[in-house]
Every structure is written in C-alpha cells, then in structure tokens.
Symmetry: C3
Subunit: 146 residues, 3 copies
C-alpha cells in the first residue's frame, strides 16, 4: 500500500429536515439516512442519529408493512394518553413521555459504505406532537485509523 493511495475518511455531520403530517406519526427516513451515509465517504464506522427535540424520538422497526408503524403509534397513545391528569400545562405531556419511552437517538453500523440494517429494518422519526418540521442530526464516524 502506498501512502498516496490511502483514503482516510473523516467524521461527517449533517442535519435532515423532516416534515410531519399528524400528531403521532412514525416517518420512515431510511432512504435519507442511507443517502447521507453514502455521500459521507465513510466506508466503515458508525452512524449516530439524534433528534434535538423533547416531543419526538427515533426508532428502528419494520418498514415493509405500514401497519406496524400504525400499531406502534396506537399502542404509545394507549400507554400515554393525551389526557391523564398531567401537571405540564402545555397539553403535550403525553408527547414528552413517549419521547422518553422511545428515546431520542439511535446508532447503526456502516460497512462498505452502507448502513448495516437488518432486512426488514427501517429508521423512523417518531413525531409525538405534530404536525411540525423536525431535525434529525447525523454524525457519521469512521473507524479509528490503525
């Protein structure tokens, strides 16, 4: 290996903007994340995703049958109903609770420039207090050089 041929990838960060249409809604963002990973030039490493919001989240689940996302939305609405005697006065306490149950970040491996998702897995932005425009921050980190 000659040094001049060695390509050293660097960490890339970028932000995806996602428009949501309903109050509680899982939006499949896999294609956008995969594109960002492809454009980053990172061949092997990790992709860290983060939503800087307190009434949204990120999950990885089945993207093939849209009914799965609907069932997740419905169940979360049942576990944290919109009205349940909450103290937070803005009318979206349930959305904050759902954000904590689902979580605001995900980390996915990258091999050969591709996200290492399972066959049925898709990445979803989880909107819990929409409709809004949301941000998903990506940090695409190559494996350390040896």
């Amino acid at each position: 290996m000659s040094l001049s041929n060695r390509k050293v990838a660097k960490t890339v960060q970028c932000t995806l903007l996602v428009k949501t249409a309903r109050r509680t809604q899982l939006v499949d963002i896999t294609r956008e994340v995969a594109r960002a990973v492809g454009e980053s030039g990172v061949q092997d490493g990790l992709c860290h995703l983060f939503v800087p919001h307190t009434t949204a989240g990120l999950t990885i689940n089945e993207g093939d049958d849209p009914a799965v996302a609907l069932d997740i939305e419905t169940t979360l609405d049942r576990l944290a109903p919109r009205e349940a005697g909450y103290r937070h006065a803005e009318g979206n306490a349930d959305a904050h609770v759902k954000s904590t149950l689902v979580g605001v970040s995900q980390t996915v491996g990258i091999e050969g420039g591709r996200l290492q998702l399972g066959r049925w897995q898709a990445i979803f932005l989880c909107e819990f207090d929409g409709p809004r425009q949301r941000e998903v921050r990506l940090r695409i980190v190559p494996d350390p050089p040896t």
Copy 2:
C-alpha cells in the same frame, strides 16, 4: 516508548448467534459478549451491540436473579398484549411494539480489555416472537489514537 512496541488496536466486528426457546424471553448473552471483547484485542473503547431484527431487542438489567428477567417479560406482555386490535396481520404486532419500547442497540464501555458493566448488570437479547435463532452484531471500537 518505541514505535515497534506500540500496539494499535483496530475495530473488530463479529456476530453472535442466539437460539431462543420461548415467544417472549430475555436471554443473558453477557458471557459471549465479554469473550468477543476479550478476543478483539481492544483495550479501551466502546462495544456497540445491535440486533438486525424487528421483533427482538437488547437490554441491560440484573442477571443475578432470573426472576427479574421474568418480571420484565411479564410486564412487557401486559403493556403490549398479544391481541389488542392491531392492524398488522401477521399476529406479532405486539412483538414489534416491544422492540421499539426496549430498543435494538446498546453501547458499553471497555477498559483494560473488559466490558465496563456494573456489578449487577447483564446484557440480554430480548426475544419477542420466538422461538427463533437471532443475530447480535458487535462492533468493538478502540479509542481513537492520539
């Protein structure tokens, strides 16, 4: 320090195969993960674990008393019952919901070649639609060189 003595670890990835025996079951995989970390040669860094499945998950909880895992299984079955008017027609919508509640990845520190778990912590593959054979993908990333 002479350069020739310097050992630079590289990122190691591997896959564990886990057979599950029940529909909802937490399987302790701590020993297998610790062995992979030990064999990786990584002294200090992070171990990222990921299940490429949509009806399984990963959690870290008490491994000493097996009743804790049973209580987690029972509570998740109560929060997302097998039948609840789901739209997904494959009869495992509850398993997808549980996967989102628990999450599909974990990240654990490595110091001196050892997983930095707390005294009572164990790593569990969470089966929600078993019995099956499942994969757990590990990415063992050394701290960047300085």
Copy 3:
C-alpha cells in the same frame, strides 16, 4: 500547520456521583455533563453516558418546566406499579422494569467543545429505587484523526 501546534484530543472518561432524594426521581445532570465535556478538551466527538445500575436509567427530555419530569415519573409508576405480582422478591421489580423501558445509556454529539443538545433538552439521571447515591460514567470520545 506545524506539527507542534497540532492538538490531538484523547478519549476522557470520568464518573459523576448523583444523590437522589426520592424513590422515583428524574435528576437534571446537564450542567455536570457539560462541565465534564468542557474540561475534557474534546472539541468534536461524542459523549457516551452510562449508568452501571439495574434500577436506574438515563433520559433526555425537557428541563425547562419541572412538571415534565414529574409527569414522566408518574406515568412510569403507572405503567410499572410498585406491586403487580412480581416474582423478584426484593420489592423493586418495578424499578428494574422502568430501567429497561428508559434505558441505561445515552449518546450526545459534541461540537466546538459543547454538548449538542436541542434548545429544550436536558439530560436526566432516572432514579427508580431511591434515595441512593448513583454513578453516571462518561466516555468522551473525540472524532478519529484523519
């Protein structure tokens, strides 16, 4: 750039000690985490947070109105009540369940030496079996050099 001017950050780990006052309590630790990141010298990278406990967790949610944390506490207590026929005999099975629902780790980006939290986000240690003294382990990892 001369080599002598090049500052290469290294991975820093440290442990925060957090005293909790109630059985179920979200404690805002954002200031302590931000201070540790600032002192680490890491300009760009990721901060990994981990609680080595099985009856505690970590979440990121709104820190401005304390009522949000209370609503999260109350909802988790409703989803996993203290008494629910659990098998674990120590009387804190609900706390173990809550730990799995919330999770024991978080990962947050660092840019320009600062935690990249959203405007309303705060980092909370989640106590589920207090009062106790808890540990939060930080691993502050700079982006790999290029």
